[in-house]
Symmetry: C2
Subunit: 335 residues, 2 copies
């Protein structure tokens, strides 16, 4: 009798999906994308859910509850951003230890509300429960999209793009572990940008909407597990392969130097670090200029990092001389 | 600095609600009912969420995972039933110990799917996580209703009604603790009905829809915490009081005798036991015959158990001579 740790997360999800498969015609896209797409009246409803568990996703000791509230919603907003959707309403289900202080719980909810307000989301319900083992936060988010962008639309020859910089959140986490303090968030320290990327990520909702509304992207996903891992998900859904150029991977100023300081390989963090909540998308080669112009207006960095290739090639990362770089680490895996 | 156990669940929810309050005109009903009611295009979208946690809501030892899957969805379906809504799509977020067997996890999902199919619900997404402390199942459910029935519509002089029988689930739980076995579910044992009520409850979706579509009810809630507790929620939302006649409380055949056998006061179980997932509603006095006729067609028992009174009277239970019965126990309280 196999255990979950033996079979791994992907196989588990595959087996579950087989059982839950539905023929409901209102389900335009079910399990297997960042959000479900549902036909509701004349519109398309998006639904997604994501959980943050203490001692799995975050360390309860000394955590800033306000920022945790913000991040809990941000990771869900990122799922709708990854469909090109507009988030509307959230449900927050939370399990808490009985000994937790009211003050801390309310601080969490103030953070949650601040993130909700920034993105025009209303928190319309939820559930509170007692927990015997730390905080558990599960958020379900509903939104809409006229033209949702799926994971499955990438075609051979399309270019692969990513917003922002990669590895910043993973570096922030390393800095925090090495004694960096969240107090640095407000100050002009070199660490601040990376700690902020980890503790207070900004979901790319307006960027996702832009891609959807201007029909710029053929496929779209957010980088939550790590670039290689999420590119793999996107390519599998599209039935294609992906070729990435190592030297094109966008990394923030000072990233290399700080990585050296904390003793981490910058490429390990940038390719496999996870929790970047940037958007990874594909677009036809002809759209390059239009994409650059549109993102310049948004003041969001965007970088072409590679090309969609045939399925058989799989996922490859090439170095400056076109040689196959060793993929150092796969993204985060539960179980 | 007060802890959650010191302030209790109701006060916690009150404080959280103050922070999360929204002025979004699309939110027709937010926090404070069984589901949120949202204006989406020309329709009304319902959203609700409910969690089941191991060692809080159920005992992991020897639990039948198939039935747990069914019940996890049933408690959520009951929330939409309590709005008179039609459930449509569910998201299932589940955290599991790494050492759990795949077989058991799939058994759970088979149960979930069977309940979903019975009520025409599609499971369209979710999230799987590692848990360091037992199963955690959080379901979010979306549905619709043309004319949702809120908790807040009860008016003085209305009659108070309840579907089915009360206390059966609580008695089932007592029987299981005393060595009753879930194997009795299939057989014609006297225990079977009560064990089934606890392990395999049937949400009153069609009854809720009937009340909404025929405009029979002025207010509606499901009995999840216990009759007195849920009647209190309904009356508080409506700004009224409620008077219940003890002799009218519907209890199943054999209930009294089995309660005596397990050493429990039948009224404690029927008034405070919880997890009945019956519907509690109010209706104008003139609708009595119409309600009885409509429920006869559905073959669902329905009983008038009291009357809506002024707010100042609070919640009272009267015995056969019209004397105030001592309310023995409030419903289930987290924290």
């Amino acid at each position: 009798m196999k255990t979950l740790s033996q079979i791994g997360e992907q196989k588990l999800i595959h087996e579950i999906s087989k059982i839950l498969r539905s023929k409901d015609p209102s389900v335009l896209r079910g399990i297997g994308d960042d959000a479900a797409v549902l036909k509701f009246d004349h519109k398309k409803l998006l639904l997604s859910t994501d959980a943050l568990l203490e001692s799995v996703h975050f360390d309860g000791q000394g955590v800033d509850l306000y920022l945790l509230g913000r991040k809990s919603l941000a990771v869900n907003l990122s799922d709708l951003a990854a469909m090109g959707g507009t988030p509307r309403w959230a449900l927050v289900s939370i399990a808490l230890p009985s000994r937790e202080s009211l003050k801390k719980v309310l601080e969490f909810h103030r953070g949650l509300k601040s993130m909700a307000d920034e993105f025009g989301v209303s928190i319309v319900g939820g559930d509170t429960d007692r927990s015997h083992s730390g905080w558990k936060i599960t958020i379900a988010l509903a939104g809409e999209a006229d033209r949702p962008v799926l994971r499955s639309g990438a075609r051979r020859g399309d270019r692969i793009w990513v917003t922002g910089y990669l590895g910043s959140s993973a570096l922030g986490w390393e800095l925090l572990k090495k004694g960096g303090r969240r107090q640095e968030l407000g100050v002009r320290s070199r660490n601040a940008e990376f700690i902020r990327a980890h503790l207070n990520p900004c979901p790319r909702v307006k960027e996702g909407k832009l891609l959807s509304q201007k029909r710029l992207a053929t496929s779209l996903i957010d980088v939550s597990d790590g670039l290689i891992s999420d590119l793999t998900h996107l390519c599998e859904a599209s039935g294609v392969g992906g070729r990435i150029l190592l030297k094109q991977i966008p990394m923030s100023k000072g990233f290399f130097e700080l990585c050296r300081k904390v003793g981490k390989d910058p490429y390990v963090l940038a390719l496999g670090g996870g929790e970047d909540y940037e958007l990874l998308f594909t677009a036809s080669a002809a759209k390059g200029d239009q994409i650059r112009r549109a993102f310049r207006k948004l003041k969001t960095p965007v970088t072409c990092i590679g090309e969609v290739v045939g399925r058989k090639e799989g996922i490859r990362v090439l170095d400056e001389r076109g040689r196959l770089a060793r993929i150092v680490k796969k993204g985060y895996q539960h179980f």
